[in-house]
Symmetry: C2
Subunit: 271 residues, 2 copies
DNA sequence: CCGGGTAGTTCCGTTATTCGGAACATAATT
DNA sequence: AATTATGTTCCGAATAACGGAACTACCCGG
């Protein structure tokens, strides 16, 4: 019988629907190392994970043996190259990305600004591809990054393609963190923005995620409606006025529609 | 200092001394799915892995729950996006890659051709970055891929920086697969090429790995000598003559040397 | 050179998870 | 409807992970 601290104790596990046993613990470790700002020593990891020393040591050894982590001779751990190889393969062979790619390039050439492709997953956007112009200032790789949907153009565009019930389900319990002073602050602001987006067919992000960064985005939905995504054109606020974004909007919509067309053709009309 | 790609020789995949228990089986599965040409159904995986059905099913479920695999409604498995997120972060923050990047871009601009950065690991080269003409960095196209060192410019350049003993150890038992009619066919051809490379300071790949593809490459070694890498300029044979490569060689060498200098400065003179 | 702290590794009895055969379910095919 | 191919769940047995504690290696100040 439990002692009566149940409500507090059970909290953590309530979050995780399914326990994944050993694997879950190991990928948490991977995450921990990957998200750190730099290489970590054994003790650093020890203090962040709540594992006993012996256990942690064995877990790290296993990860290293599999090439998922690497440890240098100073005993500092970092993500291993094997992960890079796996990820690169999955990226290169991703059908959706491959289909979208030429359209992204075309959009980049016409606008001269950075173009993103992202897919919706829950209430987050994961960026699948990015095409930059010459003049880009930030080489920060965005591919693979996840951002909240409510404060990104791609995310709001994708959300707008959901029906009301599904939308409500996804944004339930969302936390509206104010990244900038323009970030949407609650569900009603988001819903009102989304209804505007549905009306005009494209979404804006006016410095809502990052100060000085604006974008316009158009939604992409797969035929079966199971995958939602978006394509966006992004630029710095000092160079990109609201008028410019307005002018780009139809281009983004055309690109999104072309991608949908190509998907319909390439993935076959079956089903 | 330590660049993070500790390329400790020795343990090849051939000698899997230590079984890594559960994890090992799971990443084998990941590999299996990642290396396949397309999405796989349960039975496909079942026939390729020697696991019983119940076991395999649980393993796949765990991988899916952790986001390492994804399964669509038709029951087809593919690599999950979580891997992309893990790898992209570590790639973006890889110190060595970050330091080399501006030099790669400069080299690309001057030559107009594709530039590669690769690290040596055992007797293989793993590509860490690639800068192409026209467009921006095509991040994952080649990045993460592994190729034999003996038939690539970057690989031979990196090998040339080893001392004889270490070199012999690494290429012992190598299998010389003839990718093209110019591929080096045995250890003595490789050693003779490497002695030439040591003499002039850079390596050529004259259609040795792929027909119609040539490159010139210069070696990079970390101060402590534990990481070996190379930078190369690659172009199609019809456009790139031997003279052109000769002309690029000093540029590649300068780029490689600059990268080494930057490493020395940025990673601190300590140790 | 010593003593004491810190960092990392190994051991081994206990415990929890994985294993895998077999029964159960659910399409697809004839 | 019968049959086959395919995917899912169960549960006792086997095995791998757990984790406290003992051990080693190293660094640093005295």
């Amino acid at each position: 019988m439990s002692v009566g601290l149940g409500s507090e104790a059970g909290k953590n596990k309530a979050h995780r629907d399914r326990e994944t046993g050993t694997l879950g613990k190991l990928v948490s470790l991977l995450d921990l190392v990957a998200l750190a700002d730099g290489p970590m020593r054994f003790t650093d990891i020890l203090s962040l994970s709540d594992q006993p020393r012996g256990t942690l040591h064995r877990q790290l050894s296993h990860l290293v043996n599999e090439g998922l982590l690497e440890v240098d001779r100073d005993g500092r751990y970092r993500i291993g190259l094997r992960l890079l190889a796996l990820a690169s393969r999955s990226w290169a062979r991703n059908e959706f990305r491959a289909i979208a790619e030429p359209h992204l390039h075309r959009l980049q050439e016409v606008t001269g600004e950075t173009v993103h492709l992202g897919v919706l997953r829950g209430a987050e956007v994961i960026y699948l591809d990015k095409v930059e112009g010459q003049q880009s200032v930030r080489m920060y790789s965005q591919v693979g990054n996840a951002s909240p949907a409510y404060c990104t153009g791609v995310g709001k565009a994708a959300l707008s393609a959901l029906d009301d019930a599904e939308l409500a389900k996804r944004i339930a319990g969302l936390e509206y963190r104010p990244y900038t002073e323009h970030t949407l602050r609650n569900a009603s602001e988001l819903l009102s923005d989304i209804s505007q987006i549905r009306g005009r067919g494209y979404a804006f992000d006016l410095e809502e995620h990052e100060n000085g960064i604006c974008c316009v985005a158009a939604p992409i939905r797969s035929d079966d409606g199971h995958m939602l995504a978006g394509v966006s054109v992004t630029g710095p606020a000092y160079r990109v006025t609201h008028q410019t974004l307005q002018a780009w909007a139809p281009l983004a919509v055309v690109a999104a529609d072309s991608i949908m067309m190509d998907m319909r053709n390439r993935m076959g009309p079956k089903r």
